[in-house]
């Protein structure tokens, strides 16, 4: 795959990919972008092995999740920086800031798989089948992870 072709495939996935990693990194945008860059380099190197059996975005998100897991193994994930969670655009209300802070802090407490399942299902609108392919787990397990994630989030988030 040529570099231009790869960039053209990646360009529309850039924002969803960064958002997915931002959720996994519990609001740490710098870390999320670093992992996103690593993901793209890995994907480019492995692009020859992409056979088109799944959607390009599914394949890319799977690499992103693996990069995130590798990163977690290398270094202990940083705690949610409160300032990061508050970096909402100026026109956002403080109520929104508080909600994001709550969300990121709650996500940070979730196990990796639950967090990934929640992020993909709610933030990226992925189907159970796609999540199953991305996280490399059976669909039943994805449903279980989502259910557990929701239960845990309910405990951590005050609504």
């Amino acid at each position: 795959m040529t570099q231009e072709r790869f960039i053209s495939l990646v360009q529309p996935q850039q924002e969803p990919l960064r958002r997915f990693l931002l959720a996994l990194c519990s609001g740490n945008a710098a870390l999320a972008d670093d992992i996103a860059q690593d993901t793209l380099v890995r994907a480019y190197v492995a692009s020859g092995s992409f056979l088109g059996l799944s959607k390009f975005s599914t394949w890319l998100f799977r690499i992103a999740y693996n990069c995130y897991v590798d990163n977690c193994r290398k270094v202990r994930p940083e705690q949610v920086p409160v300032t990061e969670a508050l970096t909402i655009k100026a026109d956002e209300t403080s109520d929104a800031s508080f909600r994001y802070q709550q969300l990121y802090q709650a996500l940070d407490k979730l196990p990796q798989k639950e967090k990934a399942a929640i992020a993909l299902f709610y933030f990226e609108d992925r189907s159970i089948k796609e999540i199953s392919a991305i996280l490399d787990m059976p669909q039943g397990t994805v449903k279980y992870q989502l259910s557990m994630g929701r239960t845990h989030l309910k405990q951590y988030i005050q609504l």
Binding site: R18, V45, R99, I157
Partner: protein, 120 residues
């Protein structure tokens, strides 16, 4: 659970605009290309060196075999010295000389075939 569903759907993480993101990606991909080119260059030169070594070994083996079979020596009449020692060695082991030559020829064939398959 509906409240949580609602909360998550309404509060998707917001990604800040990062105009340099794709530029940084391009820069990294260029670096990857550079590394790939260098690795390919080294692999090619390594393969070329291997082919030269095999061809040289094959030529030497054929020469040694020809020498041993076409110019047999009388061990009794040989004097001392490096050349004589080599001829005596070849004379002694001449029935086995074709074996390493054959191995070299087969190895060379495999290397050349695998190379042409990679470039195809």
């Amino acid at each position: 659970m509906k409240e949580i569903d609602q909360f998550l759907k309404e509060n998707k993480p917001m990604v800040k605009d990062n105009p340099t993101f794709i530029l940084e990606t391009r820069r990294r991909l260029e670096s990857v290309e550079g590394i790939k080119t260098e690795v390919d260059r080294q692999r090619r030169s390594g393969r070329l060196a291997l082919i030269y070594a095999l061809v040289f070994g094959l030529a030497l083996g054929v020469f040694a075999t020809a020498l041993a079979f076409l110019y047999p020596v009388d061990p009794e009449s040989l004097g001392a010295g490096l050349w004589e020692s080599i001829r005596l060695f070849l004379h002694t082991w001449r029935q086995y000389l074709l074996f390493p030559v054959a191995i070299l020829a087969v190895t060379l064939g495999i290397v050349l075939m695998s190379g042409s398959r990679q470039s195809a």
